[in-house]
Amino acid sequence: MSGARAAVVAVASIVGALVTGPALAADPPPKPPDKKDAPKADAGKKDTDRKDGEEKKDDAKEEKEVAFALSGYVNLGVGFTSVPRAVPRDQLTYGLRSSVAGLIVKGTPLAGFSYVVHFGINPEALDVVSDVDVVDKKGDQTDIDATTRTKEVTLVNVEEVSIAYAITSFWSLKGGHFYMPFSPGASVLVTRQMFPKRPQPTQVFMAGADQGISTDLRFVDDRIIVSAGAFNGSSLELKLPDTTALGPVYSGLVDVQPFGAMPETEGDPKRGPFRFALGMGGMFRQGKLFESTGYEATRFREVRLDAAARVAFRGLFLQAEYLRRLQTDDLSFRPAAANGAYVQGSFFFPIPTTRLAIAPLARYGVATEDEQFAARRSIEIEAGLAFFPRADIDDPNRLRIIVQYEGEQRLPEREMAHGGVAHVQMRW
């Protein structure tokens, strides 16, 4: 590794370690070094005249030597949102939507050992409270209020900082800060999503990356993938604020793709043969909840379940998921239960005699929270059209333009929000 490259990796790792916040996407676990899609820093320089056997040998040699590969993406969206029943200021808003610029550094500096550092910068600044003043409105201590000052802060979200070790060609270990194996829709890489945003129902169940270790087993040409891990649960929203929850999260995902590996993106731009996948994920957590004084308040248990199905066939891609959460504790006697489901689909259609392609997209999702106490339901409807200006390249998602409608309804308050977004994704 050259000194300059090592410095960049070190800086990226430090930035990733220092900055925490809600994550945007996960990277799939690194594959063993003999897999064909391991990092290829200079893949474009391959001599295509050589025979396949020679090429593979050279690839393996290159992969062993690749210590640093830099990639990234820029996702930019502009749009508007209309909420007719909001206060006048918020009835029509416009600006950036689902915009993020990401950098991914990965490599295999030693045979079997690999690393990933992935972080995203959100250009939409967030208002955070920087100062609070207590105000005595009437000067007689009878009407006390507080005023706050806010400051705009740009977020750098850490998606993944991990190190993996390939024990064998089908078995690997991974540790660090990354997405738990649980839901395909909640953890897919941001550039591989069908829509600019993840399905809203999945956000209720998985907020981002977590800290822990996991192991992956891949059998029968990656047709069966079994992942399991233990995490600290920092990404799980516990429904008891002002408390500290301690207890490991055990997470697992089984994904079966009997007719061959599914596309890595939420779409089928290669218009492959019929394939489908069935997946099931689960999380279990049992821990203690501590009061603000640091003493034990109660014990809690939490189960989250996921069932997913995906189908790809000649450009058609369908994906559906059902998720459920149940958290109980010994103090409140109120189970925090939620469930959600969504279905989304696209059809990749190359325009003949051009290098363009289009794909109509649609998604419908429902999430119900607090169903034991006072159920609150959110319905998500999205529909749009994706344009691929370079459908002739290996991965048309490297340049993609989406124009879409996004709507949300909240029940029982009967509040509707409508919006339109134009979104461009560029990967490099």
Binding site: V83, R85, A86, V87, D90, D143, I144, D145, I224, K239, L240, P241, D242, T243, V254, V256, P258, L278, M280, G282, F284, L289, F290, E291, S292, T293, Y295, A297, T298, V303, L305, A307, R324, R325, L326, T328, D330, L331, S332, F333, R334, P335, A336, A337, D370, Q372, F373, A374, R410, P412, E413, R414, E415, A417
Partner: protein
């Protein structure tokens, strides 16, 4: 041709997934407590008097903080006890306004707040800190004293704004105004004058609301010339009048003749218990006042979309269901109330987390803190979880210089109707 073994393995895998799903899925189901069974008790505080105490059934916010209100419509004193979801209690909030009436009841909640209506004040209580403050104590424009004559017991907690609907009046106004109250920015919008403008002696008899239908109702009586009119006025979340129905109420000598709040059934019937012991029921087309004689009524409750008159019959807790025409069903023993009463006949361990870290104490002779039996109260029980509500249990009483104070604890409890 592929070997049979490989095909079999492929066929088995989806079946194995389904089998795993069948085994794991029940783990996502919550257990419902047996009706009448108490969950863990938390010591909330002490209040004046001996059981039955002037307390309202506890409520919770979306975040799981719990709230207890001491007071009553004829008691000008108000005290709030707020229990944090992770332990710890705060008390001391005693805001009200005026001395003609005391606590009307809890209005509604958001993630970490509750609002109550006491006297002429609408008060917000923070579950996180226990702090409270009057909402719109004065008119922001004129600084005139603002009186909440009626507040519909429903907080619409939408992503865009948090609101309720109220009838407000300042001392210089002859008639109240209806308004949408923005509970975040604390402003009044959609203000409309009372109609007819020549009405006089407007008396609020009762209020009710239904979160599911996003509607509330004010039952009121006023005079117009020599004519006495009684009306139920239905409002939507924007404080727009959506319906008006004549209700043949007897002449009201004082305000707030309905005990607790009016309750909505899933079928659209609204009912409440009058101080006279009669039940008033109506919908958007009109209503009736009916006497009830087979039960000594304590209130009208709503549970799972159905309405019940609850009370005592033959010295036991009883209830009678109201159909959508407002007619009473047969009087039945309220078994979950009776079982809860039986479950209080033994010492109960109580967690005292008023000061952290929490400790444990025992109520040697526990009894229901309100009502002749558990769950008997003019105010309806609120849903804490599926088949579960909250109730208060009284503990030991103490003499403090001639007056008595009684400790009480809050507990989740299994409930069913009947």
């Amino acid at each position: 041709m592929k070997p049979h073994g490989a095909r079999a393995r492929r066929a088995i895998l989806p079946l194995a997934l389904l089998a795993v799903a069948a085994v794991v899925a029940p783990a996502g189901c919550a257990q419902v407590p047996e009706p009448g069974t108490f969950g863990p008790l938390r010591l909330a505080g002490r209040v004046a008097g001996d059981a039955p105490l002037n307390l309202l059934p506890p409520v919770a916010d979306r975040g799981g903080n719990v709230y207890v209100l001491y007071g009553g419509i004829d008691l000008p004193q108000t005290i709030v006890f707020a229990g944090k979801n992770g332990g710890g209690w705060a008390s001391g909030c005693s805001l009200t306004k005026g001395d003609s009436f005391g606590v009307h009841g809890w209005i509604g909640y958001t993630e970490d707040s509750q609002w109550y209506w006491s006297g002429d004040a609408l008060v917000q209580v923070s579950g996180a800190s226990g702090d409270c403050h009057r909402v719109l104590d004065t008119d922001p424009g004129t600084d005139a004293n603002l009186l909440f004559r009626a507040v519909l017991p429903w907080v619409r907690d939408a992503p865009s704004r948090v609101t309720t609907v109220a009838l407000v009046q300042s001392p210089v106004d002859l008639l109240p105004f209806t308004a949408r109250v923005d509970l975040e920015d604390e402003i009044l919008t959609n203000i409309r004058a009372f109609d007819p403008p020549d009405a006089a002696n407007v008396k609020v008899v009762g209020v009710g609301a239904d979160r599911e239908t996003n509607e509330g109702v004010v039952l009121l009586q006023y005079t117009r010339g020599s004519e006495i009119r009684s009306e139920a006025r239905f409002y939507d979340a924007d404080a727009s009048l959506v319906a008006k129905a004549a209700v043949p109420l007897p002449e009201q000598t004082t305000e707030f003749g309905v005990l607790g709040f009016l309750q909505f059934s899933a079928g659209g019937l609204v009912a409440g218990l009058l101080r006279s012991g009669e039940v008033v029921s109506f919908d958007k087309a009109g209503g009736k006042v009916r006497p009830i004689d087979k039960i000594t009524p304590a209130g009208v409750h709503r549970w799972e979309g159905k309405l019940f008159v609850v009370g005592t019959a033959d010295a036991r807790p009883a209830l009678a269901e109201l159909d959508d025409g407002g007619r009473f069903g047969p009087v039945q023993l309220w078994t979950s109330s009776f079982r809860a009463s039986e479950n209080l006949r033994r010492p109960l361990e109580v967690r005292d987390d008023r000061a952290l870290p929490s400790t444990t104490t025992t109520f040697a002779t526990p009894r229901s803190a309100m009502g002749a039996f558990p769950f008997l109260h003019p105010h309806a029980l609120t849903r804490h979880a599926t088949g579960t509500s909250l109730w208060l249990v009284a503990g030991p009483s103490f003499d403090t210089g001639g007056s008595k104070v009684t400790a009480f604890a809050m507990a989740p409890v299994g409930v069913s109707y009947p």
